[in-house]
Amino acid sequence: MTRRFSRFPHGEQGAVLVMGAFVIAILLAVAGLAVDSGRFYHARLQLQKAADAGALSGLGATVIDFDTFSTLATVAERKQFIETKALRAATENLRVAGFDISDPKLEITPTYNFSTGTLRVDASSSQKSLLALAAPMFLLNTDSLMESTGLSVVAEVNRKPANISLVLDVSSSMECPSFGSCRCNTALRDPSESCAEEAALLGVNQKITDLSQALYQFLDLFDTVEDRINMVSFALIADLRVPLRPIDPLTGKAHRGFDRAAFNNFSSVSPGSSTNPSDGLMTAYQDFLDSGVANGPEEVSYILFSDGAPTAARFLISSPKSGMEANTSSTLGSHDYHHYSIVWQDSTVSRTWVGPSLFFKEHHTLDPKYNSAKAPVGNYTPSCHHPLVPVGSTEAPSDDTKFEAVFTDCINNFGFHMPMTPGKIYGDDMKSGTSKDFSNHWREQYFNNTIQLSDFLREKNAMVYTIGLGQQQNIAADISRGDPYQGINSVLHRKDIFLSRAASDYIEAHDELSRPYLGVHPEFSYNGYKSYEALKYSSNPKFGRYFATPNSQELTGIFKSIAQKVLLRLTK
């Protein structure tokens, strides 16, 4: 007996096996818990994803399927529309994630609050976790208590108010019929036939009419109480037609909402003279800046509509007049000329000649330092004022005095670098009564300034969408990388290059290989413009869209698409 007993203390073979059994048991238990809680948290992630998807899809459907949604007359119908879409999207996501959607314990409850515009999706399932069951013993908070009784998640989505700026071209070609070549706008026109008559003959609208109809349908998608919208039209210079509402002293920002009726007079606008999108965009930004909305956390969407690349009308110099304002109106009709008087301010002491400097209104509130660092090193005049000055005479100008001006590289009065094709003198044979075409000079400045400004706006939390109307320019693409001004005419005439770059439309840039005539090279970059590739990998790329159409009847669809994109971006 003693011998048998004595074997226990001495015989330790099996000790490790026993210990090992314990260790394995504990390890298995821990691993089991890990698997269990892993499954639980994965299920919770899936449930959260489904709830989020439901909420986003439900509210998004009101935008994407606006045509159906807007026909629903009652609150109950609209509520049901949203909640049904949310429920179906959430359910589908759960099914794909492997949940048994016929399980009665799997509950998805979308609730749309009509007054706040918030869609809330509650989702819960019976999935339990041992670890979560034990959690309340240690952490007595409600979260873990809820987890212990199963899974429960919430997703909430609503739409932030929109800030929109409509920057619309009303240059002379907007009088033309919806599509095709336009006689009434050219020298070939029959003086007895107006553009309206030409359009009526073709059985279509004038472009401006199509645009205004598109505009009204666009406005229907927005909330007249919550969304801020302003409207700028531009031709030679910009005109703030519908400003934002006045500043609310409580918030320091413009009041929300817009007056739908204020946009109604748009169709009555009379198109005229050149295309200066630069001043249009600048005026639109200025209004948002003055209203305290730009540069803030709220995104502003600029919609730049143009029916062409920047253009400038020819100038006609009238007799110099003493001490008068420059006449910036277009008195020779809307088509070919811009009528300009040389202003002679003082005949005795010193003379200031005010010629057609840049046709931008003064915008001093912009930070003048902006972009100055981007200006290449060189000799630049401090401002871009290039007055017409009389040639070889210091006397008061007469009708026979000839004028000239020299464009040079410069930093304009809001700090953008304005590269000019150097050494070109314009106007050296100009005298009263003669006209001169400076289109390319203006074109270059409008082109460059608009793109610099659009990049500036994107840095200030804005999106830029552009719409180009009209025939594609049939010019062989000879875009040289780097400097778009090498082939100055071909590039500056191409609104597709201009507008897709202004919108920073990466898709358009990307399509160059398949559509060489329509696209822009992805590396298109000039003088501090960022290349598309550089933008692609920035944290917030702000890619806008460039929409092109030769037919203004398609504007309605394009404006609607932009409105939907703006609204979806704000659904969060």
Partner: protein, 179 residues
């Protein structure tokens, strides 16, 4: 005594090697459990990563692309996929995202665009065929436009086996989000 018996008696009395022997018996089991746990956690992390990528892709594509005109949709999906794949590949090399957009125009469902890499290893598990979407929830006919984002993350053979056991997955880590 016979040498054999003597040898056995040595085994019984001299226990110096026994611990080692028993340890070598148990170690593989313990290690297996430990590594299985690690692999499981890794795979779970991969699965959650897959889910995150798919929900983000779907959400971005839904906001940025679903309201586009048809001509722009394909380019837009490509851009979102590019960005998401570039981002995801930094964490899980070889991650692929397939984005597709379906449109329901008065009852007829068509795939407007599908965005996947030219050299893609995977195919979308959805199609216009309503079988791939559930018939019960009628989502294909209910929504005007539907964005489907699928994410594939390549996995090791071991993880594959574990996941097959636990999540019924085989090919790759997979997650789809539908918006």
């Amino acid at each position: 005594m016979k040498p054999t018996k003597k040898n056995f008696s040595i085994l019984r009395t001299q226990e110096s090697g026994a611990v080692l022997l028993e340890f070598t018996l148990i170690l593989p089991v313990v290690l297996m459990i430990i590594f299985a746990g690690i692999e499981y956690t890794r795979s779970l992390r991969g699965l959650q990563f897959t889910t995150t990528i798919s929900r983000e892709s779907a959400s971005i594509a839904f906001r940025e692309c679903s309201a586009d005109l048809p001509a722009k949709i394909s380019g837009c999906l490509d851009l979102v996929r590019d960005r998401m794949e570039d981002f995801a590949s930094e964490v899980e090399p070889g991650t692929e995202v397939i984005l597709s957009l379906y449109e329901n125009s008065s009852g007829t469902v068509s795939k407007l665009a599908e965005s996947k890499r030219v050299d893609s290893n995977y195919t979308s598990r959805f199609s216009e065929d309503s079988e791939s979407f559930t018939g019960a929830s009628e989502i294909l006919t209910s929504h005007k436009r539907l964005v489907v984002a699928e994410t594939f993350v390549p996995i090791s053979r071991l993880v594959k086996e574990i996941l097959k056991f636990d999540f019924g997955l085989s090919e790759a880590l997979y997650d789809a989000t539908i918006l």
